[in-house]
């Protein structure tokens, strides 16, 4: 936390130095969402290039002055929280002055910009985000406040901890981890007692696009247990993109790639080639929309696809058929096909990419 305080003090000192020199204070931010500042390394995923372009947030320009002011306001709030060792969620911060901040997305962006500017992870800024991900399976740990957590499959589902960095004493006998795209599929597998039927495993779902805490947890479990991680996504461009976020990271958070990505993640299903192989009826498949086509075309151009010929081939099958399918399509074969046949076969016979 002294690192955080010092970083903020340096920013304030620079502001005062500019004022003393009769110059307008300026904050310099990396263009963290610009693809030109992103490079791909297959050992890390998407990360910021060393020589990234920046933009200036000026205090004397009417267009950028509000953002400059909000950033300094946020820095002063973080400074106070770190000093007093208190935490706040992004939502708490927004509601502390809704008129000033305007919207939640403004708060979220400023926090990410500050994290990138100071090169300090958001969690170290004492800002938490409400986690939406769930975890279940052969895993137990102790949270920072001493609470013991046991994720063994049962009736209850546990939320991914909001302070992943603080958890310790992680214990698991899982032989693999399964990341599930959707909550509905996650619940279905829980209901089918999947965690106990096959080898012991850990299941995680981000319930769509994963938040930071879910990604952090996946990374932490990989760092701790080094067990294979598989993904179970819908056979559509959106599912592929979500999988790529877990595996390679996102453009906007590329500055923290080293803590958020697990490049060794494998694509277990639902593969486009599975649809052909399992003879899924065409009438249960869904035609592409324009957005699907656009998204798929964008994914196919990304640098990490080029180094994965098997993934590239699957995407070409998807592009050629212009049809997509949710995991639930397997129920057209039988109601418990997913947990009883599909997943066990895939895991036993190495049906992953």
């Amino acid at each position: 936390s002294s690192e955080v305080l010092e970083a903020i003090e340096n920013v304030i000192q620079d502001v005062l130095k500019s004022l003393a020199q009769k110059k307008a204070p300026v904050l310099t931010l990396a263009n963290r969402s610009d693809w030109r500042n992103i490079e791909f390394k297959d050992s890390v995923g998407l990360q910021m290039t060393p020589h990234y372009t920046t933009k200036q947030i000026r205090s004397d320009c009417p267009r950028s002055a509000p953002k400059f002011a909000l950033m300094l306001k946020m820095l002063s709030m973080i400074y106070k929280m770190v000093q007093s060792n208190t935490y706040a969620t992004k939502r708490d911060i927004y509601y502390s002055d809704t008129l000033l901040f305007g919207s939640q997305s403004v708060v979220d962006n400023i926090i990410s910009d500050i994290s990138c500017m100071l090169k300090i992870p958001r969690r170290s800024l004492h800002i938490l985000s409400t986690t939406k991900g769930f975890v279940a399976g052969n895993l137990s740990y102790t949270e920072e406040d001493g609470t013991k957590v046991n994720c063994t499959c049962g009736a209850t589902v546990l939320t991914v901890p909001s302070n992943v960095q603080g958890i310790k004493n992680l214990i698991s006998h899982a032989e693999f981890m399964l990341i599930v795209e959707k909550d509905a599929t996650f619940q279905r597998l829980l209901d089918d007692d999947f965690c106990n039927k096959l080898s012991p495993c850990i299941m995680i779902t981000g319930r769509g696009v994963p938040d930071l805490n879910t990604r952090l947890l996946v990374r932490k479990l990989w760092d701790t247990f080094q067990i294979p991680i598989f993904t179970l996504m819908d056979a559509d461009p959106h599912g592929v993109e979500i999988m790529c976020i877990y595996k390679y990271g996102s453009v906007s958070m590329s500055f923290e790639a080293h803590h958020l990505t697990v490049p060794s993640i494998k694509w277990l299903g639902l593969l486009p080639s599975d649809l052909q192989r399992l003879n899924i009826r065409k009438d249960v498949l869904i035609p592409f929309t324009k957005q699907d086509q656009k998204k798929l075309a964008s994914i196919q151009k990304r640098p990490y696809i080029a180094c994965q010929p098997t993934w590239k081939k699957e995407l070409e099958i998807m592009a050629a058929s212009r049809l997509k399918a949710e995991i639930q399509v397997l129920t057209s074969l039988s109601s418990d096909y997913l947990s009883r046949v599909y997943l066990p076969n895939k895991l036993q016979f190495g049906g992953w990419l």
């Binding site: 305080l5 903020i8 003090e9 304030i12 000192q13 502001v15 005062l16 130095k17 500019s18 004022l19 003393a20 009769k22 110059k23 307008a24 204070p25 205090s59 004397d60 320009c61 009417p62 267009r63 002055a65 509000p66 400059f68 002011a69 909000l70 300094l72 306001k73 820095l75 002063s76 400074y79 106070k80 000093q83 000033l100």
Partner: protein, 497 residues
């Protein structure tokens, strides 16, 4: 400028006294400008014009010698026959005129056209006549920014001169420009009496508007609209003669001032503004009740109305000019709805620009206290003595209260002083963008040469024309001295001798 010696010998005629300035306006200067050949596309008229007046003698028996000389391109294409025949009340003097004063020598030496004549003005009106002539020349010089106008008066040896000349390149301060936005030509209704006496063809007005001075490079400088100044020019760029057209007497014809939170009232130019181009009408503009004025820098909305006359059967000559001016009042009045509609498309964007500027400044003003509070909160809340000491030392203060005050002062100062590059004045698609003007210039008719307007020695506006003569206008850029005073006044720049 190549100077060829060409002396014109005019048939002398001796008649009774006439009003000096009207004589010169009606005959010599009009003949000179009306006789100029139409400019080629892209051409700017350059040259020098000298009008020198030497009055000698005592009260009741004053004798006045007037020298008019034109040098450079200004005199090109003006045939000797254009100026032949002395005006009524004027005695043409033969021979090469000598320089009435040392300041006149340069132009005289280079002049191709020289005309000297003698008349006997009324001593009681000599001063006002000279002032009227000076104003006429000054206003004409505004639309001939590349021409040097030198006016010299010597009364019993006491010399006073004014020069309205092109600005020296590189001498103008930052954004010494105005940015005229061109409107589309507005067709005027020729009243039947005018048509009956021979004013044929189509009559229209090409409007141009600009805020002066331009404060775009200083986006945080608080400004206010203080006045609107109207200038009316005939198709060759000569001022339209007084009296003030009735249409101009009530500012409500221009726009719905209340919509923008303004009130406007006509204003007569006060005494002492001799160095300024006198508008044909001036309106004082005030913000609505409750709006802060404070230290806001005043700006004037300049509206140029360039009359255009297109008649395939008759060129615009002295006779057409007289007809036009004689019926100008009625013509403008009967065309009020069209003029109002046409001018609002110019005036409203300018007023909107002002409103957006004020809103931006309010946004900035709301941000500054947030910045200061955040900085002060960190410094006062810090437990690091080293950090607090460094902050206090940086701002050269003793305690955090003084630091807050010093930071507030400094932040207010640097934000207000914010300056953008001059190129920021030319935003694509904005008024004044040459591409806009180019688009408009292509709307029917042939392209005409660029027009330039000068409102003082270091003030000019330029653009591409889509109208006749030197007064037509197109979209383009302008130049203005930042010393221009906004309220009801257009920039001065004459160099008093």
């Amino acid at each position: 400028m190549v100077a060829l010696l060409l002396l014109l010998v005019l048939v002398p005629a001796v008649v009774d006294v006439a009003v000096l300035s009207l004589q010169l306006q009606a005959v010599v200067l009009e003949r000179l400008f009306l006789g100029l050949r139409p400019p080629e596309s892209g051409e700017q008229r350059r040259g020098s014009l000298l009008v020198a007046l030497v009055a000698e003698g005592d009260t009741g028996r004053a004798r006045c010698t007037v020298t008019v000389a034109a040098a450079g391109e200004l005199s090109c294409g003006v045939g000797a026959e254009a100026l032949r025949g002395a005006p009524r009340g004027v005695l043409e003097l033969p021979g090469v005129p000598r320089a009435p004063a040392p300041c006149c020598g340069r132009i005289l030496h280079q002049a191709r056209l020289r005309l000297t004549f003698q008349l006997s003005p009324r001593p009681s009106t000599l001063s006002s006549d000279c002032a009227e002539l000076r104003r006429f020349l000054h206003k004409t010089s505004a639309v001939y920014p590349e021409v040097e106008f030198h006016f010299c008066v010597s009364v019993n040896g006491a010399v006073a001169s004014h020069t309205y000349g092109p600005a020296e390149p590189g001498g103008a301060p930052r954004c010494s420009r105005i940015h005229p936005a061109l409107g589309t030509p507005i067709r005027l209704r020729v009243p039947p009496p005018a048509a009956a006496v021979g004013l044929g063809g189509e009559l229209s007005v090409l409007p141009a508007a600009a805020l002066c001075p331009c404060h775009r490079p200083a986006p945080n400088l608080p400004t206010r609209l203080a006045a609107v100044a109207l200038f009316l020019y005939d198709p060759v760029g000569l001022p339209a003669a007084p009296p003030l057209p009735r249409l101009f007497q009530d500012p409500s014809w221009l726009t719905d001032w209340e919509r923008f939170g303004f009130t406007a009232a006509p204003r007569t130019p006060p005494e002492g503004e001799e160095e300024l181009v006198t508008p044909d009408a001036t309106y004082v503009v005030r913000q609505g009740a409750g709006a802060p004025v404070g230290d806001r820098h005043p700006q004037t909305l300049l509206l140029f109305l360039f009359l255009r006359h297109d008649d395939p059967f008759q060129a615009y000559d002295a006779g057409a000019r007289r007809l036009l001016l004689a019926h100008l009042d009625q013509t403008l009045l009967s065309s009020r709805p069209a003029l109002t509609r046409g001018l609002r498309t110019l005036v409203h964007p300018a007023l909107e620009e002002l409103r957006r500027r004020h809103e931006s400044q309010e946004r900035l003003a709301r941000s500054l206290p947030v910045v200061l509070d955040a900085v002060t909160a960190v410094v006062t809340g810090s437990t690091s003595a080293r950090f607090r000491r460094t902050c206090l030392r940086t701002m050269q203060v003793e305690d955090t209260a003084a630091l807050a005050a010093a930071a507030r002062r400094s932040l207010a100062e640097v934000t207000q002083r914010c300056l953008l590059p001059c190129a920021s004045c030319e935003t694509p698609g904005a008024p004044g963008d040459p591409r806009r003007g180019e688009g408009r210039a292509r709307e029917g008719g042939t392209r005409h040469p660029p027009f330039r307007v000068r409102l003082g020695g270091s003030l000019r506006a330029e653009g591409t024309a889509d109208g006749g003569g030197g007064g037509g206008g197109g979209g383009g850029r302008g130049h203005a001295s930042p010393e221009q005073r906004g309220a009801g006044v257009v920039a001065g720049g004459g160099r008093p001798g």
